[in-house]
Symmetry: C2
Subunit: 411 residues, 2 copies
């Protein structure tokens, strides 16, 4: 059968495909507050030191550490209180020998002082004098200038997916107005098939089914950080598919077609990809289950995918190829959160030379996470409802033994 | 010190707090395509059977299984081809004894037939007759009506966070127009402190720092599915804080104040929460590090949180209390993706009776995930930059040994 002339292991298929993908999304400027989950378009360096001044990490008294050497409950040190450091202001006092100033957490350590004694370790008899019961080392309870980050340091590398704490780090340095990030990839989605009707169709005729793949693939795209364009259902006619794809091509960074599951429908998809431009179809058939008849193509540097029509196969294959491609278009890797390790609850047989992706539920057992297969045909969408992700049975094994660790890619 | 009168373990603190939270967000109707990540407001039942008709799962010929009994390479069964089932149409033929019809994957199995033989197991000598080399069982390569889901079955429970495959399942059943989901909780964010200036301030005066907590907490809220309202910085004056909170109260489902880190700033926050209404402050101090001086309150059934001013403490405590509260307001549990198991790369000392949350990087070692602590003071936001999440050192241990499994909550 023609479509299986070139069945490749998934990792090899992805490498061959990506080698021809030259497309990258453009850069846009966004306010830092709106940059969560976006990918840095360039490395970002610190314009200043953080903190910009020496700060106290406790409520207490700013002191010269030397004045506290040897202090104890039985032999306290006595210091003169010369003032208070107000929050948000430069310290108005200079701490001399034998002197101290009241200070609050986050306050600016005044000149002369090099440590802060916690209020719990002092005793105050008047506004003018305190006892200190504990010796301090120089620098104790003080954040030094630049201790968080030094001026000029690289704070985020290029290709970094921005996390909540990164937003905090940028804001701390005054980098609030705008930041250069990669645009969201635009993915154009097509479903083909004479049997398909739109999902809002209420009275199905015999033989008709509703198009669900555009909805599931759209959701996977959005979760991966892409924008989507849903196109009308295309009938099983080569010229109609060619016209729809070429019309959408310029405004898309990636195109995805879910074809019917028959051989002729898949051949039509592959022929159309080749007709659109070079290099065309690079992979036609992947050594994976479910989803073997997947088509990976490149046209004019843009990734183009042909997915099987079965809803489970389509989701599995898009998770395997489409989701990482969205990150690739933004010059970054998959976020860590999409994968975890879990142990198989049962023996899972497989075939060497084929990578299996088994829908699983995750269950907790004595502090460990176990993956419990949800078996079902690849045509049954309810196989996936309730599944948390896909357990990978690696290529060169004949299966997983009960209790074996394996990777789960989460939906 | 007054604020530590009631230091509770985190789980106990959360239980006491939630017991008083009566607030739940309202229900809204959304198109199914736009419901990714939202929470179902009611259980959803299937209005029809899926598939709605018997479908072939292969390309081949629809047959009566009885006609193939005993078929083999040496003794094939011969059947008359009486037509073809076209995609998207009711089968126009009825398969009688000794007859068969060409059918494609997903096509409607015609009356009379109860199995489909794969084209690979047939030989065709003319358009009118095929040889079959393999016996079929009744039902082979056929999806039965209702095999995916039966009419009336519960397809999604109430309180379910909608995944991509769930969207597919709803669309398959024609539930495309609208679905009842919980609104996004509205979280009002306040930062207080005389030392704070807005993050876009370019020339800091000595003693000033930029407000970063509203940015990090906003990002955590958004990731958890909430909408946020950032309010102007509030000075350290009880009446100003009271006025700001009460003005925002009606339009918020939850309020979050990051206070300065000094004792007086925290006391002001707690006093203001109590002034706003009953029951007021329920927890003032959590047996956790970092973030001990966290305040959990309820006013008029709504959750109100006072976070420490240190950026690391604020993020850790909001991850521990605020993020789950957002799910709670939507009547659901945290998504599974927010947590994973990992092994400690080093011994991590702790103190029994205190739950430690250690920022960690995740590294892969021989197929397992290990958590490598990123040590740093809780004032240093760059401690968190690059960290993937927080490793939990449980309450009643004196630490984790190298190699021990523990839970990591991902940012």
């Amino acid at each position: 059968m023609a479509e299986f002339f070139n069945v490749l292991p998934p990792d090899e298929a992805r490498a061959i495909w990506w080698a021809q993908v030259t497309r990258r999304v453009d850069v846009e400027m966004l306010p830092t507050h709106e940059s969560l989950g976006r990918v840095t378009a360039q490395a970002i360096h610190s314009p200043e030191a953080l903190p910009a001044f020496k700060r106290s990490t406790v409520d207490g008294y700013a002191v010269r550490a030397a004045d506290t050497f040897g202090a104890s409950d039985s032999l306290p040190a006595y210091l003169d209180v010369i003032g208070e450091v107000l929050m948000g202001q430069a310290a108005a006092v200079t701490v001399g020998k034998g002197q101290t100033a009241l200070i609050h957490t986050g306050g600016m350590v005044p000149d002369g002082a090099d440590a802060v004694v916690m209020v719990e370790h002092t005793q105050s008899f008047s506004d003018q004098e305190i006892e200190i019961h504990k010796p301090l080392a120089s620098g104790e309870n003080v954040l030094q200038t630049g201790e968080d980050v030094t001026q000029g340091a690289e704070i985020l590398p290029v290709g970094h997916r921005i996390q909540p704490q990164d937003i905090g780090a940028l804001l701390a340095l005054g980098l609030a107005d705008e930041i250069a990030v990669m645009q969201r990839p635009r993915v154009s989605l097509f479903s083909t098939g004479d049997e398909l009707v739109t999902p809002d169709t209420q009275n199905l005729q015999p033989g008709q089914i509703r198009d669900i793949n555009s909805g599931t693939i759209q959701a996977l795209c959005r979760r991966a950080g892409a924008e989507t364009q849903l196109h009308p259902i295309v009938r099983d006619q080569p010229d109609a598919l060619y016209a729809a794809l070429t019309e959408a091509f310029d405004d898309a960074d990636m195109l995805v077609v879910t074809a019917g599951s028959s051989v002729s429908a898949r051949d039509m998809t592959a022929d159309t990809f080749n007709r659109m431009g070079a290099p065309g179809v690079l992979v036609h058939g992947v050594a994976a289950r479910p989803g073997k008849p997947t088509i990976l193509a490149v046209v004019d540097g843009k990734p183009v995918i042909g997915l099987p029509g079965n809803p489970v196969s389509a989701m599995v294959m898009f998770t395997l190829f489409g989701v990482p491609a969205i990150s690739y278009l933004m010059n970054t890797a998959l976020p860590r959160q999409n994968r975890m390790q879990a142990r198989a609850t049962v023996n899972i047989p497989s075939v060497a030379g084929r990578e299996d992706h088994v829908p699983v539920k995750l269950v907790q057992r004595e502090g460990e996470i176990w993956a419990e297969p949800v078996f079902g045909k690849s045509n049954l969408i309810f196989t996936l409802v309730g599944a948390a992700g896909l357990l990978k049975v690696p290529l060169n094994t004949t299966g997983l033994r009960e209790g074996a660790w394996a990777e789960v890619v989460l939906f």
